[in-house]
Amino acid sequence: MSAAAVEIRPPVWRRLFGFNALTAVLLGVGGWYLGWFIGHQVTGPSIDYFGDIDQNDISIFLGYFLGVGGFLIGLGFGVYPWARLRGYPPSLREKETEGVGRYFGLCTDHKVVGIQYLCGIGLFFFIGGLNAMLIRAELLSPTNHIFPPGQYLTLVGMHGTMMMGMMTSGILGPFANYFVPLMIGARRMAFPRIESLTFWLLMAAGAILTTTIFFGGFPTGWTGYEPLNDQANGGMDAYIVFFALVGISMCLLGLNMIATIVTMRAPGLTWSRLPIFCWGVVATSILNLLAAPVLIAVLAMAMLDRTAQTVFFNASGGGSPYLYQNLFWVFGHPEVYILALPGFAIVLELLPVFARKPLWGYRLAVAGLLGVTLLSFLVWQHHLFVSGINADLRPFYMLSTELISIPTGFTFICGLMTLWRGQIRFTVPMLFCLAWFFNFLIGGLSGVFLSDVPSDVTTHGSFFSMAHFHYTIMGGLVFTFFAAIYYWIPKMTGFQLNELLGKIHFWVMFLAFNSTFAPLFAVGFLGQPRRVVSYPAHLHFLNEWVSVSAFVLGASMLVFLYNFVYSLLFARIPAPANPWGSLSLEWQLPSPVPVHDFDRLPVISGEPYAYGEQGGPPIAAPAPAPAGGMS
């Protein structure tokens, strides 16, 4: 509303009241104590062992649930449902305030949500990275311990859980929320409030996970295997609530993305003109939508085991730990492709821009993305080759697992052939994309060893598999995450990032990354199991080497942080509307993008990769007649 835009804003101290992050935190903490209190009232006398174990899981869970409820209400998520309950008509957008205030509350502008995601995810990404640094510090020596073994396991679990949980939205959160509507010529996501909800759920989840320390941490690593899960201290409850909230957020995010791309593409944007990044978002969202519910279900069972004393995973009570392993990996394997696929999409989206050529084999690339999506639901038991589950089926899972490398290969050939005879420009985003080829190649090929049962017998559960998935996830996701940042920040903020610092960041990160994880293949092959606090003495040198490289890797992140703060706060060099000369629709808009993106829904006249062809830009024109329903 123009009225909202021009109204006089009250002084800062007044604006601190109302629905915002501050209120949310206060209500969240209040809600936590309320739930804790209720839990004790309900269960204190009736269940005696809570006294013995000195922890009351029911009241911890209640505390977390009411805490999340209070947090969301404080952010203003209660207003709309309450109005609808009273029968008021639907509306799309919350009141949109100007200024920084809108970044600290419920905002229905997809661009605000994208930037919220970037900062929020970044925060927890750095916490997870800090955990990794502490882990490597502990592993500097096989015998001298910095942390008690229990706390070390909590560190390992925190690192894995934080990264696997938060980075699932690492690219979909910031970049899909921001750019999918711009790429498909829409003014919003299909469900703006749900879009904002997914972000704030993640923030609540991350905060909850960090509170695990107060309840004795959790010993299970990110997989949370039963029955250790049931045996663990109250910190396990934080893990369960964290992953359940992340699951809900993932599911809603995927739903929102698919609904948007299916129903809101601008006129003329046929499926065969859809930017490959949007295809990657669709593929990932399918996995989000279908895999996350299984995770929520299995965590619900674990919660019931810990509170209501059900015996889902208790072999002595009529349940089975195998049930947990199966259900968890039914989610868990699609999960790793939820982390990998956005990387593929970013690479394929950026290569044409910097090779100045059309995307090679567009249909093949799409087929690759969708093929991976389909196959990733059929391979979960390759995580259980030596567990004794359905041993007779191992040949099938070996085959299906290795089949995945075929659609993955599509991505490789399309990317590589896009470079062929191009005009390659080594900008910072391009460097990160090229690094992806090398990292994911190593990661993928080492995966072949793990997918092959005979060699999996040695490598399973060792540092080899750990090195493998760090090559695929960190080398695949995090590198492309930074590629996307360097590529799109000029559009998101209107300012350029410093190129020299960017290149320093890249080279330090790339070299340190490889010098960290390549030796870990050897460490695993030489017999060091994962998640150990002490290891054989003859592996001391390798572990020391890895630790030092890991610290350098951590330092490279500080270079990025410095660049980010310096360029956006101090240098503030305005970026041109289209610094990379991209043909994609989002770059045809001014930087930063106006609040309502398009005056009129554009009409798309071609796909965004027509480099080297006549009549490249503009690929879109404003609709001749006003879009329907102007008031």
Binding site: Y49, F50, G51, D52, I53, D54, Q55, I127, L130, L134, T143, N144, H145, I146, F147, P148, P149, G150, Q151, Y152, T154, L155, T210, I213, G216, P219, P227, D230, Q231, A232, N233, N314, S534, V565, L569, F570
Partner: protein, 224 residues
């Protein structure tokens, strides 16, 4: 507060806050390190002798821990006070004489093999009588150092014993069993020791909480 100066202040403040938070965060993991206990060593440096006096209690009570209901080992320091420390710093190749007073009842072993004392110098004495093997339903705890091959099952206080000790501190006037044994610390190293009896009441398989927290039923032998 506009302009670069204001921004600089803001960034500096942000960095400071982040630093403090990170400090708190890391310290959150460091807590739980129980302070090591170093018993006095007699005899020659080549073959020293160490006396270690322990007790096991059904619950550490409100004075000793954040978890008053947890079962735990306690060690008697030179002042004769009972401390809750399970990290013992011992000299290498030492002969360690351990006297252990158990105030806890029977929990029972899951694996009866662990009722057989092993790795000791001489025999394990329960109330002065040598012990060959303890029936699986009896042990209340074990003192085990797998890397040294040491395993000592600990006899329980009868359930109907008079004047049983509910929680620490437990006086020797209360019902208890006395277990004495001797073992050798090998070459220098960092040996873990633990209890193998599922004695953590309320936890699944009796193996959570105090059974998985250094400072209660688990610890280290720092052999230097």
């Amino acid at each position: 507060m506009r302009g670069p100066a204001g921004k600089l202040v803001g960034v500096a403040a942000g960095v400071a806050i982040a630093g403090v938070l990170i400090g708190f965060y890391i310290s959150g993991y460091l807590v739980g390190n129980t302070t090591p206990f170093r018993p006095a060593a007699q005899g020659s440096a080549s073959s020293p002798t160490v006396h270690l006096t322990l007790q096991t209690v059904a619950a550490v009570g409100p004075t000793l821990a954040p978890h008053p209901d947890w079962v735990s080992y306690l060690v008697r320091d030179d002042g004769g006070h009972w401390r809750r420390s399970t990290i013992f710093t011992l000299p290498a190749n030492a002969v360690v004489h351990v006297t252990l007073y158990n105030f806890d009842g029977a929990s029972g072993l899951r694996n009866p093999l662990l009722g057989r004392p092993t790795g000791l110098v001489g025999q394990e004495l329960v109330d002065g009588k040598p012990l060959a093997v303890m029936p699986p339903d009896e042990p209340s705890h074990t003192f085990a150092v797998p890397a040294l091959g040491v395993l000592v099952p600990i006899a329980p206080v009868a359930d109907d014993a008079k004047n049983a000790c509910g929680y620490a501190p437990c006086a020797l006037s209360m019902a208890h069993r006395t277990v004495t044994f001797t073992f050798r610390t090998g070459k220098p190293g960092h040996y873990r020791w633990q209890c193998f009896v599922p004695c953590a009441a309320g936890f699944l398989y009796g193996f959570g909480g105090p059974m998985q927290t250094v400072g209660y039923m688990d610890g280290f032998l720092d052999v230097v």
